[in-house]
């Protein structure tokens, strides 16, 4: 017997699965996947490699019909997850076919900045898919390892929450409209700045030179050109759309070099950095590119202007490997 009745409404269903321990994870995910497979629905599971391994075992033959992807890879930069779901839905959901997905973007070990962006990602999923075709996305949250505040935020970003095999509507879900909004909360101030420069329309080459110099000094020579390319696009946006000038600041965090651009522009398209540009379109591409080149991109639109931070790790992805759990 299935514990997962099919959703009645013909719309995107964004559901959090709160689990404690392997048994609850399996009980919450395996029937969900199996029901989808047996109904002929395409299923994509984006999880850690160890969870994928376990799900394969638990699903046995049904695993052959399931697509699996490593969340540590897909979601290293959480802004790349929505495009991955878009690819899945457009590739496999032709003619309004139902689909299912499992995605666990938040785990213990995410840095504070990554966690904030993962939470933003969870909210933006409602904006990205809330008006489109019906499909069902289940997002597991490990209640044993994650802080209570993280679980609380999951209840705000998901319309449905399953706990102890019982599903209910979240009474603090922020709703579709407000889901695009949580990018007007200021980012924490950095520690020690190691560079600052005000720039105008004729200073792009100087901006690039400064970022290249800091990338060299931070020991990320191999990725300096990528960071310079991404930052140049952000600074170009300031010049063209953000009042004609901006301020570049540079600092180091534990594992990354961070470059920030502030300008006086306003930003009102929350998905602009995660919509894959069509070849023929004249759509903006700079922030999309930044997300593909950098480890993390943080965008905030505040009353006094826009802030964009680009993070480049010294050792890309190393700490993103999900540590195998001992049970």
């Amino acid at each position: 017997m299935s514990t997962f009745p099919a959703p009645s409404a013909e719309k995107f269903r964004h559901e959090a699965l709160l689990y404690a321990g392997w048994a609850e994870f399996v009980a919450g995910t395996v029937p969900f996947i199996r029901d989808g497979v047996r109904a002929g629905e395409p299923v994509l599971v984006v999880e850690s490699v160890d969870k994928i391994e376990m799900l394969r075992l638990a699903l046995s033959d049904d695993a052959d019909a399931v697509l699996f992807a490593d969340m540590a890879e897909v979601g290293a930069n959480p802004a790349r997850i929505i495009p991955a779901w878009h690819d899945f839905v457009s590739r496999h959901g032709g003619t309004g076919r139902r689909l299912r997905g499992i995605g666990e973007p938040i785990w213990k070990g995410r840095s504070p900045d990554e966690l904030i962006e993962c939470q933003r990602h969870e909210s933006l999923l409602n904006v990205a898919f809330g008006h489109g075709q019906p499909w069902w996305l289940l997002c597991p949250y490990d209640t044993e390892k994650l802080d209570e505040a993280v679980i609380e935020e999951a209840r705000r970003s998901h319309e449905f929450v399953t706990e102890h095999s019982h599903v209910q509507t979240s009474n603090i879900f922020r709703g579709l409209e407000a889901s695009g909004a949580p990018f007007d909360v200021p980012l924490p101030e950095p520690g020690t700045e190691i560079g600052r420069m005000a720039f105008g329309p004729n200073d792009l080459a100087a901006v690039r030179a400064m970022v290249a110099r800091h990338a060299q000094a931070a020991g990320i020579e191999a990725r300096a050109a990528e960071l310079v390319t991404a930052l140049n696009e952000v600074a170009t946006n300031s010049i063209r759309h953000g009042g004609g000038n901006g301020t570049l600041r540079v600092w180091q965090e534990d594992s990354a070099l961070v470059c920030e651009v502030r300008d006086r522009g306003r930003f009102d398209r929350p998905l602009v950095d995660r919509e894959r540009p069509a070849p023929s379109s004249s759509a903006p591409r700079g922030l999309w590119l930044a997300n593909q080149l950098c480890d993390l991109v943080q965008i905030r639109s505040l009353p006094d202007g826009t802030v964009v931070r680009l993070h480049m790790r010294r050792r890309p992805q190393q700490h993103l490997r999900v540590v195998p759990e001992i049970n």
């Binding site: 792009l204 390319t229 696009e233 070849p279 999309w288």
Partner: protein, 109 residues
């Protein structure tokens, strides 16, 4: 053909085309269209040697795409693309256009 503080564009004869050296960004990406226009080349394929570019932003790539799409016949053949530039063209969805051919060589000259 064109020169500013960051970019020099010169004409090449064999193959017929243009050689770009330096940096292209939003302040000088108009040079791509201007140089092609000034070169007044006929409808055959035009070869652009980009091996001397140390930087090219999206506006520069957009200029190449626009120039390729504006051609009635003949393609723009891009030679000597730096690796990152090729990656960027892929990522932003402009690597597979009918009139814009990326040649995997080290430069046409």
């Amino acid at each position: 053909m064109y020169a500013d503080k960051h970019l020099v564009v010169t004409r090449t004869e064999a193959p017929i085309g243009l050689y770009f050296a330096g940096e292209i960004d939003v302040t000088n990406s108009h040079a791509v269209a201007e140089s092609l226009c000034n070169a007044a080349m006929d409808d055959a394929d035009i070869h652009l040697d980009l091996s001397g570019l140390s930087f090219c932003d999206i506006s520069g790539i957009r200029s190449l795409v626009d120039a390729a799409e504006a051609r009635q016949t003949g393609r723009l053949m891009l030679h000597g693309l730096p690796d990152l530039l090729q990656t960027v063209m892929n990522v932003i969805g402009w690597s597979d256009l009918p009139n814009l051919q990326i040649c995997n060589c080290r430069g046409a000259r």
